[in-house]
Symmetry: C2
Subunit: 354 residues, 2 copies
């Protein structure tokens, strides 16, 4: 079978622990479905930064480009000032590898507790396609008269036709492949952000013409947040810009049961994509064997799906679902009734047994 | 007693219906507490725009400036393109009258249904202080190569030290007056919006020195949304910029039971403030006597509080609470078990009876 070269960035805090379980499960799936995975681990994160001042060196970027995919644990260190590692590693990887899609399935698995009343797996099952390389994340802006009473700080959202279009087209493709309502909702703020979302809206309806089988809808970002809480079943696929996507995907993670289960992909469909549990480095749980590895395991499944190993991906998802239903009273760190490693072992077993 | 001059903008859709009930209740409170209210009604909104092309003429702005406060119903018309009325009336009023605070209590009243599991009035009780005149709402930005494949659209968030500072100071004052945790949380995105929220963060911690009795906290906007769903009890007062405020206040409205009850104030502490139910014009319910007037009634109570009639404000709030507990099976339009006018009558009765 094929051998896939995967770059691994365990990162900070509980990142290495969940990545270890993710790899255990990936290997089980590889055995079972007859393909190979070759890992190269990169030591990036807060410790390296503290030691060397380096975040994500260009030489590592060049190496990462040689891989088929990247498997990431978590980045974030209590002793490093906020922003440095996020911008220096996460955002740099997204930008340099042109991972222009952030793909976040918001799916409530059977047996997972959601904070919403009267909503179950049938109601909470949509996908957010977030633009991942532009908008307010461009880092453009500056200060005037900094430090004085007359200071002005400007932050610019930069949106290109090309950037919006490729993201929107990707979202239409995702919608077409799903079996739900075949509906794509543009989430924006056309009534206030009259430049940025004018471009987005025009592009959306132009691209929509190529997808007559997909229904289109529009919702302001404030309304989107309300509906995600009140009527999540209204959504099939949502496409939005980088900043609004950041917000609504975290809201989505919460309604699907929290950080124990939420994973995402930073996708370059023509290049190297990076998959991650979205929970962060959770310093207070580090080294205790209590963090939930399922989000990392699900990120691994997403990665296999993107590598074309759909069957293996589906098998991991089913195995995780089985562990949730049969074995785990809660998905929260320390409340799973078993340790991080034991959950990984369970999922491996179910992968091999299915 | 004092006579307060109030400008009234009933607006579109169900706006006039809820404003009528709001005024009924305001008048009952005025009778009971011995002050006077003199109303001047302004015909603004979609119909006037369709007739004359006018949104909020400067002559009306000048007149509004002569009032102590403004009582607003709703703006928004299905036959007017999105953005025109919002920008031409709502945002223009906020900007021209320098209503630099948007104040949104997020409070779950006894007997009101929240979409969140295991959360009650003790858990959902915080206030959002939103900056209301700057940020992405400045309307700054533009296009390059519009309509071509190389198009760029830029949207600028403009933040001033003065604007952030007066908003933050106001938020500290609000926190000091409340009886909860005496904690003010800055909601931002310091790790990505490194210009805008650098200014906000520096200003926040400088102003904080003047309020040693208030605890301070910081949360990224994405985490704020998660916590509002998972742990709303963590919040006492939240201060944030215009765009993030727009998003989190609507999320707040949802967790406090929806549009039937949520009201807000556009405050200029030294000038003319404007109070409104935040539900919108709800065209499909217009003229049917089914829309819930409680949000408008609560907006009236907020207005009285700002006019210094705290007792009357508290009395209206208690009366509304009584109507909710005793008489209303649901706060949703058409499901209240009584009509818009009947709910207004009930609250009037309770105001007079208390
Ligand atoms: C860590 C941070 C820079 C990042 C973002 O804002 O994109 C994170 O919140 C995410 O959503 O992946
Ligand atoms: C109608 C719209 C312009 C407005 C805003 O975005 O501020 C509304 O959503 C609000 O929150 O009052």
């Amino acid at each position: 079978g094929t051998e896939y070269h995967v770059g691994v960035i365990p990162g900070d805090g509980t990142g290495p622990e969940v990545v270890a379980e993710g790899i255990k499960v990936l290997n089980a799936a590889a055995d079972r479905f007859g393909f190979g995975l070759k890992y190269t681990t990169y030591d990036l994160g807060g410790e390296r930064y503290k030691r060397t001042g380096e975040t994500l060196p260009d030489s590592v970027i060049r190496e990462l480009k040689q891989h088929r995919a990247i498997f990431l644990g978590a980045i974030g260190h209590p002793e490093v000032a906020p922003g440095i590692l996020e911008k220096g590693i996460l955002l740099k990887a997204r930008f340099e590898l042109d991972q222009y899609i952030n793909l976040r399935p918001v799916k409530l698995y059977e047996g997972v507790d959601t904070p919403l009343k009267n909503k179950g797996p049938a109601e909470i099952d949509f996908v957010v396609v977030r633009e991942n390389t532009e908008g307010l994340y461009a880092g453009a802006g500056g200060f005037l008269k900094k430090g004085t009473a007359d200071e002005i700080a400007i932050q610019e959202s930069i949106n290109t036709r090309k950037g919006a279009e490729r993201c929107i087209r990707y979202a239409f493709d995702v919608t077409r492949k799903r079996n739900k309502g075949k509906k794509l909702t543009l989430c924006g703020k056309t009534n206030v952000l009259t430049f940025a979302f004018d471009l987005w809206e025009r592009t959306f309806y132009e691209v929509a013409k190529e997808y007559p089988d997909i229904a289109t809808d529009y919702a302001h970002v404030d309304a989107t947040c309300m509906w995600m809480i009140k009527n999540p079943e209204w959504f099939d696929v949502i496409v939005t810009d980088n900043m609004f996507g950041d917000i609504i995907t975290d809201l989505g993670a919460m309604i699907q049961g929290g950080m124990g289960i939420a994973s995402g992909g930073n996708i370059n469909p023509e290049g190297v994509s990076m998959f991650e549990p979205i929970g962060g480095s959770a310093p207070k749980y580090t080294g205790q064997n209590v963090i939930n590895p399922l989000a990392a395991i699900m990120a691994g499944a997403m990665m296999l799906d993107f590598l074309g190993e759909e069957q293996a991906a589906a098998c991991i998802e089913a195995a995780a679902q089985k562990a949730i239903t049969k074995d785990l009273p809660s998905l929260e760190a320390g409340k799973m009734g078993r340790g991080t490693r034991e959950v990984g072992d369970l999922v491996c077993r179910y992968v091999l047994e299915q």
